[in-house]
Structure formats: C-alpha cells, structure tokens
C-alpha cells in the first residue's frame, strides 16, 4: 500500500488488506496483532459480542432516559426533513481503517446495501471534487479526443443496473487462518447498489475507436491517480460510466462525480473519480496490475489480469459473533457471481456432508447479490453451518481445501471458498476452517 503518512506509519495495529504488503515478520510483533485495527474491532465487537441474532437484526430499544415518548400516539411527531437520516436507534456501521471500510452484513436485509454502508477502498483518500470543474478526458487511439463535462455525460442515453461490486481482497484474510470474527470482517468488502450512467461503449463510439485500440487505461482523479488497464473488447460489453448510485449522485467515497463500473469484475477496476480514459494497443502495465492485484501461485508465477469475481456465497445470519437461541432460526445469506446469475444455493449443517436447497429471493439478477433463506430449527446441537452456490455457467463454489490445493495460500485475492460458521452448544457462532 505504498508509503504512508507518518501518523499512518505509526499505526501498526491497523487492519491490512491482502494487497497491502505484509510487514516483515519480526520477533517484536505479536503473531496476529498486525492485521486487526484494535479500535475498529472494539467498535465491531461492541455491536456483536453478546448480542443475539435477533438483537442484531432488530437492536434493542434504548434504555429509559433516551428521548422517545412513552406513547408516540399521544405526541405530535417530527416535521418532514430535507434529507433523511435513519432512526437514532439504529447503530449498524462500517468498520473503518485508514484505507478501507467494511459493510456490516450481519445487520442488513435484502440485497441493496445502503449507500452510507457501502464498503470503501481508497488508494490515497477520498478526494474533494467540484463536479462543475470535473472533466473526463478520452484520448489515445481514438479519432476524436474529447473533453466531457458532467453535464455533457448526463446527456447521453442512460442505463441503470443493480450490481454487486466486490473487492478482489474480500475474504482475503482467510487464505491461511480463520481471521475474521464477523461476516463484516470476512465478507464486508462487497456491496450491491443500483448504478446509473452512460455505457462506456456509447462514449467511446462518440470519440471513434481506432481499429488498433485493444486496451483502455482508466485513471482516477484521486491522490493515487488510481489506474488500471482494461481489455477493450470485454469492457465494451457492459461497462458503465456511472454518475448515480441508489438514485442520487454518487457519494464521494464511491467516486463522486464519476465512476467506471464493470459488472462482475474486481472492485479495483471500477475506477472512482474517473477523469481519463486512454485507448492503447497494449496494456499499460501500471503498478496496480503488476505489483498489485496479481495472484501469486505456489510456483512463484503470478496470474495477471484476473478480473472476474467467481461465484461465492456466505450466510450472514447466523454469523460470527452472533448467538442463537434454540427453536426456529431463519438462515439468511447472500450469493453472487461475476459470471452471471446464481442458479442454486445449498445449506449444510454438518460441514458439507449433507446439503439442503435454500430458497432464492427474487429478483435473481446477474452479477448481483441474490438473497437466500432456509428455515431451520436448532435443537442445541453442534453445527458446522455452510452455504454453497452455483451460477449459470455451472460453476460451483469450491471448498476451502480445493481452493488452497489449486492456488496455495499466497495469492491474496479472489478467495471465494465456502465459509464455515461453527455454532456451539451455547449458541455462539464463530468462524472456523475445516
């Protein structure tokens, strides 16, 4: 993760992403102390430890003294507001670090991630951008290089899609050990939103793509000038230059005022604060596609341009840090695939020996979260709870053992193995590896 400001460099306890270099092990460092931001964990722990799944889904009402009338039917309520905020009794929040934040899936419902809880990953902070001054430059192997204002970009024919964006490092701490204590920590680097913008193909056609253009460099207007080379033919299919997110202008942390969104591809290709597109004959080989975001294999070779996020699922409730009670428990989770639609999700209570079909909630959209559910009665026994999904290409989410056998444990990215939550007899749920 590049050099850091001094105050960051002193913060040795923060959580690191897989693409942030692992510090050289030293005797002074606690063996597992470097990857968890302790302050962040305290916040996360306070919100989950000791709480039942029910409490997490529907937080307990405030104690006496917090201002809510005893009987709200006898007191006039608040007047309309210009821009809404959630109830002050709702506490779900992102776990934040210096470079990223994680979505609290243990507390969320449905498939759309609230904009305020959408995960973040920045390479040198969130820039403050005046949309009236922001421009998109399109140049390189085009007939007509163009400079486009935000007003001009919104004049093109528009498109809206509901899509999941997943960081390639999502669940990337799980390659070696069961590190994440909650689903927020294990799977919080993904979010689903409704995205609106203009198709990349429309804007590039306006500029006239030259026949020798094979790659496009997308560059952000942030302090990292974050950059990826993308194969032109593939991104012309579906990529969207987005200016809206869940119906309103993008949030600053999501790329305001303009973000490239490539359905199904790793989040770092969805360049935020987009200010430049340059067409070229070959990849530009930036740091982010050589030194970073490449997947190191056991033979020492690294896979490059590993764009697609393969099918994956996770049970969000019950999940790590929650405690369940005997009786009816609805198992709830999310499944998604960067290659298309989810076709099936199965649930296992015994670590993958027996599987039951879960119910998929419509709509089942391609390259998007699909909510699944399974009604279950817990009788207090030991449980190894898993979910396994398949997508429309026939791909089946692999076990952790199969994934590690194929790729070793040093590839950092694209960990999509079956997640196991252990439910102990006291009802407490923890992250385990089988």
């Amino acid at each position: 993760m590049g050099a850091g400001r001094v105050e960051r460099s002193l913060d040795r306890g923060r959580m690191r992403l897989p693409d942030e270099e692992t510090p050289v092990p030293s005797d002074e460092e606690p063996p597992d102390g470097w990857y968890v931001d302790r302050r962040a964990w305290l916040i996360g722990a306070a919100s989950v430890l000791g709480a039942t799944a029910g409490e997490l889904l529907s937080p307990a009402l405030p104690t006496a003294g917090e201002s809510a009338p005893e009987d709200p039917t006898r007191v006039p309520g608040a007047v309309p507001s210009a821009y809404g905020v959630r109830s002050r009794f709702e506490r779900a929040q992102r776990v934040t670090t210096a470079t990223h934040s994680l979505t609290p899936y243990q507390s969320l419902h449905g498939i759309v991630t609230p904009s305020s809880l959408h995960f973040e990953r920045h390479h040198n902070g969130v820039p403050a951008i005046n949309p009236h001054r922001h421009r998109l430059l399109v140049h390189g192997l085009v007939d007509r290089p163009l400079m486009l204002s935000m007003d001009e970009l919104t004049r093109f024919p528009s498109l809206t899609r509901t899509l999941c964006i997943e960081c390639s490092g999502n669940t990337g701490k799980e390659w070696k050990d069961p590190v994440g204590r909650t689903v927020q920590e294990t799977h919080g680097l993904m979010s689903t939103s409704e995205w609106t913008g203009v198709q990349l193909a429309t804007v590039l056609a306006e500029c006239g793509i030259r026949p020798d253009a094979m790659w496009v460099l997308a560059e952000g207007g942030d302090a990292a000038a974050m950059t990826r080379s993308l194969p032109l033919k593939e991104v012309l299919n579906e990529a969207v230059l987005c200016y809206a997110h869940n119906g309103e202008a993008l949030r600053p942390e999501q790329g305001y005022p303009l973000r490239l969104v490539i359905p199904g591809w790793e989040g770092n290709t969805c360049i935020k604060w987009l200010r430049r597109l340059k067409l070229g004959a070959a990849p530009f080989m930036t740091r982010e596609e050589t030194a970073r975001y490449t997947d190191l294999m056991p033979d020492g070779k690294a896979r490059q341009f590993t764009f697609v996020m393969e099918a994956k699922s996770v049970i969000t409730s019950p999940s790590g840090g929650q405690r369940i009670e005997p009786g009816f428990v609805e198992i709830r989770g999310l499944a998604w695939s960067g290659r298309g639609k989810i076709t099936t999700v199965e649930v296992s209570m015994d670590g993958g020996r027996m599987w039951d079909q879960a119910q998929l909630q419509e709509p089942v959209l391609p390259k998007c979260h699909t909510r699944f559910r399974f009604g279950w009665r817990w009788k207090g026994e030991d449980v190894l709870l898993q979910s396994r999904c398949a997508d429309e290409t026939g791909y089946v989410q692999p076990t952790r053992a199969a994934l590690v056998a194929a790729r070793g444990v040093h590839s950092s990215y694209h960990y999509n193995a079956i997640q196991t939550w252990k439910i102990a007899r006291d009802g407490l749920v923890t992250n385990v590896h089988l």
Binding site: R155, A225, R275, T290, Y395
Partner: protein
Amino acid sequence: MYTYNAALVVVGIALSGSGVGLAEESIGYGVGRPVTVAEVQAWDIDITPTGAGLPPGRGTVIQGATVYAAKCASCHGPTGIEGPQNRLVGGHGSLDSEHPVKTIGSFWPYATTLYDYIRRAMPWNAPQSLTPDEVYAVVAWLLHQNGIVPADAVMDAGTLPAVRMPNREGFVADPRPDVGSHE
C-alpha cells in the same frame, strides 16, 4: 434535450429505412468538445513498458540516494527494506517459497512502471510533486539497491525502458475457472 433526441431518432429511422443502421460512429450525439494538445499533456502521465510517455530529464544513483533519504525513507526505511510501509528492496528468489517477499526487485516486471507509479502517487503526502530528474534519480537508486543496475547507472528516457527486470517472465494469464467447475 428532448428535441435533440427526437432528431436523432428521426435520423436513425431514416437511415434504417435506407438500409443503414444508426451507427453512433457516423452520427453521434454531438456531446463533448475537442481537446487541446495542452489539455492532453497536462494529464497524460502514464508510462508504458516501451518507454512511451517518459519525459526529458535524467537521474543518477547517487542523486537518487539523496532524494530517497529526503522523501521516501521515512515510510520505506533507510535502505528500502525496513518499512514500515511497503518493502521495496530484496526478496529475490523468494516468490515460490513459504514466505514470498514481493518487492520491486523480486516482483515488478517492468522498470518503466517505477517511473509511472512514483510520479503519479509518491510521495504519499505530496503526489506528483517530484521533478522528472528526481523521479529518474530515485528510480535509479531503487534499481541499484535491488542489484539490477550498477552504481554509476544513469536513468533517462533511453536507458530506463532497456532495464530488464528479474521477474519479467513471472506473470501468466488468468486460467480460471481452475477449481469449482461443474462439480
């Protein structure tokens, strides 16, 4: 805007009727304005492996040591090994071991990427603040620290693309799906 779109549709129908599709290349939306050379130059900061984009200027290993000590060492350590931020030096031959160490010397496939990245993103607290000579110099120092160029090396638009990185052949195409298919 409505009028404009309506006009486009009319043109499209007319062209379709005559056997010609509504090709955006030939009609377009008339959105955006032409770019000046100066506008492109102001933002066109990428450097490709061929060296395209490298500016005039030059830097030596010795000059680079000074730049590095002043602007890089506080995060990357006095010799590029100590951190606390990314380790830049060493790790040669470690990639297929139990403890792979990915550095510029052990992992980066192209020397030109150093110029591109340092210019665009470093130093962390003042990106795009280094002069071309400073970037060339610190690149020279980093390559020398990794044993890739000699102590008297001079980096410029001619010499930098010619530097062969040790891990140049260390990357392969994405073979996925490699696991999990059609179980």
